[in-house]
Amino acid sequence: MIDPQLIDCVECQSRLAEFALDELPEQLRAPVVAHLGTGCVACNEQLADLLSGFAKLAIALPTELPAERIERGLLNRVAVQKRETARFSAVGATAGSESRRHALRRLLVSALALAASVVGIAMWSAWHGRIGRTEAEPRAWGEVVRRVEQANAAERFAEIPQLKFASLRQPSSDVTGYVVVDKLAKQWHVYALHLPAPATGRRYHLWIDLGDSRFKHVGAAEIDGAGTLAQIVDVRADMVNAQGLAISDEADEVLDHPTGQNMVEAPLR
């Protein structure tokens, strides 16, 4: 590790262009950040100049107006958030628009964390209980998850309309997991265990089921060697009423709908 204090202005400025473009490796970046953090006016000004120069490349591009639906979707999302914030404020939330937004968020995150902890503990217990299990035990494992899901749905999520909870299921397999839908943050938290290893040349992808056989591909799934998935998916405003989530193994060319052999679905009830 290079001592940040050893970086002088010449060295720092030689790295600034890559730093501005987020392409500097960590071991070279840390000394630059440290040098800039000393308040060096020359280097900070040069970085600001570089950023301004790169931004001009954007300005020089020929422009076109985005589709109206994008603005409409954003404004709807803003309106929904404001409505929810106002509703929360009415029951005694803190004042101030910034803190109001964040106060509701904190409540939801707390509920999520509590629910996730309960489910996580159950899953952890069940996972460790798998050692030396018999053939009958996968059913017991599934039952543990189902009971926790039911408990959470009944006791916590039911009182928070912005949250939905769904189970991931694949008949006759060990795959299990759950999806927590956070409508306010427009995020889906996806957890799965025991996904079978995809065939060579294939990898898992995530899809949102929009109903009527329409799917939205949201990207590749990040799965570890044990077949475990824990991923947050950002969801667009026009997908909040989606019908479910699917995880599917796909070849290099991803079509506009899932086609894999190992498909797991979480229908949102």
Partner: protein
């Protein structure tokens, strides 16, 4: 595209941070065409580029209070945010990646640096926009190509050098020269 005065942009961001929907709409109308153009240039797919526009402006709505005015103009911050999110999408990253440069632009730890030395700005009038476009378009190919590969394609300087078949040092020098030329173009705009 209408590029507004920088002070006005800063006021809009302050208002957005306070939850002002009209300010958000005004900022969107002002910059969404460029954000879309930049996203399309980086990703190359219309639908994904539109998603990035929605994501970027939603992120701005939620986190505009993070913007640090001593580090960059609102437009520069917005375009760097757009570049980062578009490259994430192009690379198939659904989870937002930490960005060192965005963290730096959002950090207020160096507000004192701005004393008497404001960062270079993009507070140009609409009539100057064409001058900037001309300056970019008039860059010689050997200067323009490296900076475009680095900015739009997200290549490291080393990858850019390999792609162009020129030494790393030459690539860095050409990118610096290109940026310097663009800086002069901005000065010319301001002195007009």
């Amino acid at each position: 595209m209408e590029i507004g005065a920088e002070d006005e942009d800063r006021q809009l961001l302050v208002a957005i941070a306070a939850g002002d929907e009209d300010a958000f709409r005004a900022f969107y109308h002002r910059y969404s065409p460029t954000v879309l153009a930049l996203s399309k240039r980086i990703i190359g797919r219309e639908h994904d580029a539109e998603d990035v526009v929605a994501d970027v402006f939603w992120e701005l709505w939620e986190k505009s209070s993070r913007y640090c005015s001593s580090k960059s103009s609102p437009a520069t911050y917005l375009f760097m945010l757009t570049r980062c999110r578009a490259l994430d999408r192009k690379r198939g990253i659904s989870r937002r990646e930490a960005s060192a440069i965005l963290e730096w632009m959002e950090s207020d730890s160096l507000a004192a640096v701005g004393d008497g030395a404001q960062p270079a700005e993009l507070s140009m009038a609409e009539e100057n926009r064409q001058l900037i476009a001309d300056a970019v378009n008039e860059l010689e190919p050997n200067l323009r190509k490296p900076i475009e590969l680095a900015f739009f394609n997200g290549l490291t300087h080393r990858d850019t050098a390999e792609a162009l078949g020129v030494p790393l040092g030459t690539t860095k020098a050409r990118i610096r020269s290109a940026l310097e030329r663009l800086r002069h173009a901005l000065r010319a705009c301001k002195s007009d």
